[in-house]
């Protein structure tokens, strides 16, 4: 079944997530890994999804792709893509969308590719899963795709096995596979976390140029603010399954409104002066089974008070959307020089 290309909306929104909730039943109770998240992804734009472990960012990506492992399930909300709600389409329809219109790249390049199958096999099957072309044609396209992501001598590389590639190369292969059908949306779940810093920047540039070329919408999931500040157009910050701040990258990074965002930025080593103590956010990431009442960040926030026992809503502010009763106004202390340091340009 071929998925129809989505109608271009007035402001070219390609993916519209509305109040998505994802639940994991555990022996200790129900965990809402994603608790009412709404984001809109526009064609050709890169959205950085930032948060610590357990914030729900990976689960959000998996929910959109409907790749949740049991016993997780989508408990509410919609994922509008074109005229479809991805949260509700039947499995077979979803399968035909995956890889073709929506693609995903994972974190660990070592384990993303099947170790006992050749690269060729794994790429050709991705093509043949959606199009009825000949093997040779599929092979040719795979070879070209490898060349496009900057892999030298693609013809030989096709016959190789994953373990014969370096980490950076493997991740490029994953990207090549993701781009095979020129999808509308790519979700990248911490794709450079496991790579060296130098390789990281190469991949980042590569991604930027590919996104510009093909006008793909990209969700880049990471815990590393410095990476995403260089790459993304917009940033969404997640905490305990909810978005606490959402806005254009410059605004969020240079003029954060939510105390958590400010905390994240302040704790980056590059933002701190040599010799002075590194700043930290006090406390620990919350246990999702035992969230504080009201604002989930309340127990770690220096600005919290009795008002925060009520749950704040995500409201529009002067620079970004934020979920806080006491948002920061104005810019951060300290010299501001545009994008954060941490990754060499």
């Amino acid at each position: 079944m071929n998925a129809p290309a989505p109608q271009a909306a007035a402001d070219d929104v390609v993916l519209d997530v509305r109040d998505l909730k994802t639940c994991f039943p555990t022996p200790g109770g129900r965990v809402m890994a994603v608790d009412g998240v709404s984001i809109r992804l526009r064609r050709g734009r890169i959205l950085g999804l930032v948060g610590e472990s357990g914030s729900g960012k990976s689960v959000l990506g998996l929910s959109i792709m409907r790749l949740l492992a049991e016993p997780g399930f989508i408990a509410g909300g919609e994922i509008r893509y074109g005229d479809m709600n991805l949260a509700a389409v039947p499995d077979e329809a979803m399968r035909s969308l995956r890889g073709k219109r929506l693609a995903m790249i994972f974190q660990d390049p070592m384990m993303t590719l099947n170790p006992v199958l050749r690269i060729e096999t794994q790429m050709v099957e991705a093509i043949l899963a959606h199009e009825d072309v000949s093997r040779e044609e599929a092979r040719r396209r795979s070879r070209d795709a490898l060349g496009q992501v900057g892999i030298p001598s693609p013809e030989e590389r096709l016959r190789a096995y994953p373990h014969q590639f370096s980490g950076g190369m493997r991740q490029r292969v994953s990207m090549a596979i993701a781009l095979l059908h020129r999808p509308d949306v790519i979700i990248a779940d911490e794709p450079t976390t496991a790579l060296d810093v130098t390789i990281q920047s190469q991949i980042l540039s590569e991604v930027q140029s590919l996104v510009e070329r093909f006008h793909t919408a990209l969700i880049w999931i990471t815990h590393d603010l410095s990476v995403v500040s260089r790459l993304a157009d917009d940033i969404a910050v997640m905490y305990a399954g909810r978005i606490v701040e959402l806005g254009a990258v410059d605004n969020v990074v240079n003029r954060p409104s939510h105390p958590y965002t400010a905390g994240l930025i302040n704790s980056l080593p590059s933002r701190n002066r040599r010799g002075s103590r590194l700043q930290q956010i006090p406390g620990m990431t919350p246990n999702l089974l035992n969230l504080p009442q009201g604002c989930a960040f309340r127990t770690r926030c220096g600005r919290a008070d009795d008002a925060c026992i009520r749950e704040p809503a995500l409201l529009e502010g002067p620079t970004s959307f934020r979920r806080c009763f006491h948002p920061l106004e104005g810019s951060l202390e300290g010299p501001l020089e545009g994008p954060l340091e941490g990754v060499d340009a």
């Binding site: 127990t299 770690r300 926030c301 008070d305």
Partner: protein, 308 residues
């Protein structure tokens, strides 16, 4: 109402739990599977039957004064001449099958358990020695272990019995020689891990004699996997003894184990008197299966990686 700023509070600490004793934890984890609990109950019952056989059997099947060949080959449920009922029928000599099974269970369990325990002692000791001594001694022992483990148990047993002849003692020797290797390998594996731990270094600093370190200190920590494989080894020993007896190479006719009972009854199966062979077979099945299920669950519980 103006909000008063509060100092940030750290996340509340979880309530302190009382530490549970490891034995209790193991027991609780074990009970997660109803099948395993059932198997344990059955196993305990079997063992009790075997121990109490002389007292709970309706008849002593090996007392020639009590058996009457005229009562032979009666189907289950038949009435006995002197009153009472042969619940499981009689065999061709007139013995009550239920009693024969109880006594047979005794022999089977004795031989199986005895052989497994002796093999455990011998094998574990050799494994510990190998791990602790290292070098040539270890290489020699482990070579032997590999050799013995690569040959199917039945073949080893056959070879030994071919040479030594039949009889309970020879069967036990054969069983011990079949089973020791797995114990040795397991013990050595555990001991190698333990040997590098600090408490051994500490003991060595106190200049304790080698064997004392080995047996008093290292051994207790190697016990969990040994316990697990003991259950399975016992089951294997019982099954192997039954097989050997069935083939006529095992225990003598005067003290038949379940295997021999099955063998004796085999020729009567084709003429329709199936119970002479069948019920001892069921008894064997129940015994071996319950031991295996218990061992399986124990392994899942005691092995930290197995959480299915």
């Amino acid at each position: 109402m103006s909000p008063t700023p509060q100092a940030p509070t750290a996340a509340p600490e979880p309530a302190r739990e009382r530490p549970t004793r490891p034995l209790v934890e193991v027991a609780l984890a074990y009970c997660h599977s109803w099948l395993a609990v059932l198997a344990l109950v059955v196993l305990v019952a079997v063992v009790l039957v075997a121990i109490l056989a002389p007292w709970i059997s309706p008849q002593n099947p090996y007392d020639l004064t009590v058996i009457d060949i005229m009562e032979g080959r009666l189907p289950p449920g038949s009435e006995a001449y002197g009153g009472g009922v042969y619940i499981l029928g009689t065999d061709d000599q007139g013995r009550d099958m239920l009693s024969a099974i109880f006594y047979g269970l005794r022999i089977s369990l004795m031989v199986g358990l005895g052989a497994a325990l002796i093999a455990a002692t011998v094998g574990t000791s050799l494994g510990l020695i190998a791990a602790y001594a290292g070098g040539r001694v270890e290489a020699a022992i482990m070579r032997l272990v590999d050799l013995q483990l690569s040959i199917p148990s039945i073949l080893v047993a056959l070879m030994i019995l071919a040479v030594l002849g039949k009889g309970i003692v020879n069967v036990m020797i054969a069983l011990i020689l079949v089973e020791w290797a797995l114990y040795a390998r397991t013990a050595r594996g555990s001991a190698l891990v333990e040997r590098n731990k600090e408490y051994v270094e500490a003991a060595q600093c106190l200049v304790l004699p080698q064997y004392r370190i080995m047996f008093r200190h290292i051994l207790p920590n190697c016990l969990p996997p040994i316990i697990v494989i003991t259950t399975i080894q016992v089951a294997r020993a019982i099954a192997l003894e039954a097989t050997l007896s069935f083939l006529g190479l095992g225990v003598p006719v005067t003290e038949p184990s379940l295997g021999l009972l099955i063998s004796n009854g085999y020729q009567h199966m084709l003429s329709g008197n199936f119970w002479i062979s069948f019920y001892p077979g069921i008894a064997l099945l129940i015994t071996v299966a319950s031991i295996n299920i218990v061992g399986d669950q124990l392994r899942d519980v005691l092995n930290p990686r197995h959480h299915r």
